[in-house]
């Protein structure tokens, strides 16, 4: 694998607070990666450092083979779309022109068609745009730049579900046409989950999980039914979360269930409901904060 982004031993401290704690990470070139975690987990700090907008306290960061900070050769080849991006007091069209001068792969045709999709007009003053429309502008610039490395940090504040679907569809379509490295941080995990090839979960400044997104589907299952049956079924399995109401129990088990296990659950009268990626991330709290946790087997044991 060729890494577009390579981070080793990265720590960022603010006074007495540790925002990133010894983060090491490789992001494969040409993949779409989801950067997931709770608010305050360290996602934005990581993205800002990758974009050269902030310096690490210690550790190394390479983007496209070189440290990004104050490195125009790298910065021209990467794009960072921030949540609540601030713009100077100019019109939409002027912002697009400025971006087109800076980014060598700028695609004006793509920008136009995205503008139409989001119903954005070039003559409109940016300061008069709603929050959602400002997010849409960030998305238009972020995609039309066609930068080799594109970082999206919760790019859709104020966008409704329909506009977000436009973003996902256009992102996939343009990525299919021009594969490139995309890192998207989001807390709307379930609606974005299928876009990702890889996911990285950060919790309290540490990487707690780095895995192929598809391999996480069905990796944990909620088993519910009569207490005795649940106990029998989950004996010897790794269990995350046990809840009980009267004679009914509900337990999250970790590990893929094969066809024989499913058949057994059915014969015991148990319900099996797979955890969504979002629910898995919620359980990130319970994962040991160690790099070995990247291996889901044994997590929570």
């Amino acid at each position: 694998m060729t890494s577009a982004i390579s981070v080793a031993g990265l720590t960022r401290r603010y006074r007495d607070q540790v925002a990133l704690d010894d983060v090491s990470l490789e992001i494969e070139a040409g993949s779409i990666t989801g950067l997931l975690g709770r608010n305050g987990a360290g996602k934005t700090t990581l993205l800002r450092i990758l974009a050269g907008q902030e310096f690490p306290s210690s550790g190394s960061v390479n983007v496209l083979g070189a440290p990004p900070a104050e490195n125009e050769q790298v910065l021209r080849r990467m794009m960072f779309v921030r949540e609540d991006q601030a713009y100077p007091d100019i019109r939409v069209g002027a912002a697009l022109r400025a971006a087109s001068w800076f980014y060598p792969n700028w695609d004006a045709g793509l920008a136009d068609s995205l503008m139409a999709d989001f119903d954005l007009r070039p003559t409109k003053a940016i300061k008069r745009l709603s929050r959602g429309m400002r997010s849409a502008l960030g998305i238009v610039i972020g995609l039309a730049a066609r930068a080799e490395v594109t970082l999206f940090d919760e790019p859709y504040a104020g966008l409704d579900a329909v506009a977000r679907q436009v973003f996902y569809d256009r992102l996939l379509a343009d990525y299919a046409e021009r594969p490139r490295t995309i890192l998207l941080s989001t807390h709307l995990i379930d609606e974005a989950a299928a876009l990702f090839e890889t996911v990285v979960v950060i919790d309290r400044g540490r990487v707690v999980l780095e895995a192929a997104a598809d391999s996480l589907r069905g990796v944990a299952t909620t088993v519910s039914g009569p207490v005795l049956a649940v106990d029998e079924f989950t004996a010897g399995r790794t269990v995350w979360n046990r809840r009980r109401l009267g004679a009914q129990a509900s337990v999250v088990t970790v590990g893929q269930l094969d066809e024989a296990s499913r058949a057994r659950a059915r014969s015991l009268g148990l319900d099996l409901v797979p955890l969504t990626l979002q629910q898995l991330v919620v359980h990130a709290d319970g994962w040991p904060a160690a790099p070995e946790a990247a291996n889901l087997e044994g997590v929570g044991a």
């Binding site: 990525y175 046409e177 876009l195 990702f196 069905g218 955890l275």
Partner: protein, 132 residues
């Protein structure tokens, strides 16, 4: 993620959908299989995931690559898929049926009567005449 479920890897579901289409004859032998990007756009999934699904079928020899043109349904693919399904029929359909029947206290005689009646309705609906 149009119409796919949560608990199974997406690539496996893509492969399964394509296999079902081949088995049903919707995709005939020699037909072009949708491309990775077409599948990605339709299911709203990562193209690498879609590619993995197609590759699963290619590994089984159900689809084959024609250089520069795309993937096509292989000769004999439909017959092989139908044979596989017949092999799994008892395990997937009959055994769960018996399990539930046992739980409800339905004996074999009642079960066979129910199957006959159900088959009678289904066949007379679709063919306009009783078969069972």
């Amino acid at each position: 993620m149009a119409g796919l479920d949560e608990g199974t890897p997406l690539f496996a579901q893509v492969a399964e959908r394509l296999a079902a289409e081949i088995a049903d004859g919707g995709l005939a032998e020699g037909d072009r299989v949708p491309s990775t990007n077409e599948l990605a756009a339709f299911y709203r999934i990562n193209p690498a995931t879609a590619a993995k699904g197609i590759n699963l079928l290619a590994d089984d020899g159900l689809v084959e690559k024609r250089r520069g043109v795309g993937m096509f349904v292989a000769d004999g693919a439909r017959q092989r898929l139908l044979a596989q399904r017949r092999e799994h029929f008892v395990e997937r359909y009959v055994r769960p049926l018996l399990t539930e029947a046992t739980r409800l206290g339905i004996d074999n005689g009642e079960l066979i009567t129910a199957i006959k009646e159900c088959g009678h309705e289904q066949f007379s609906d679709s063919r306009g005449g009783a078969v069972v």
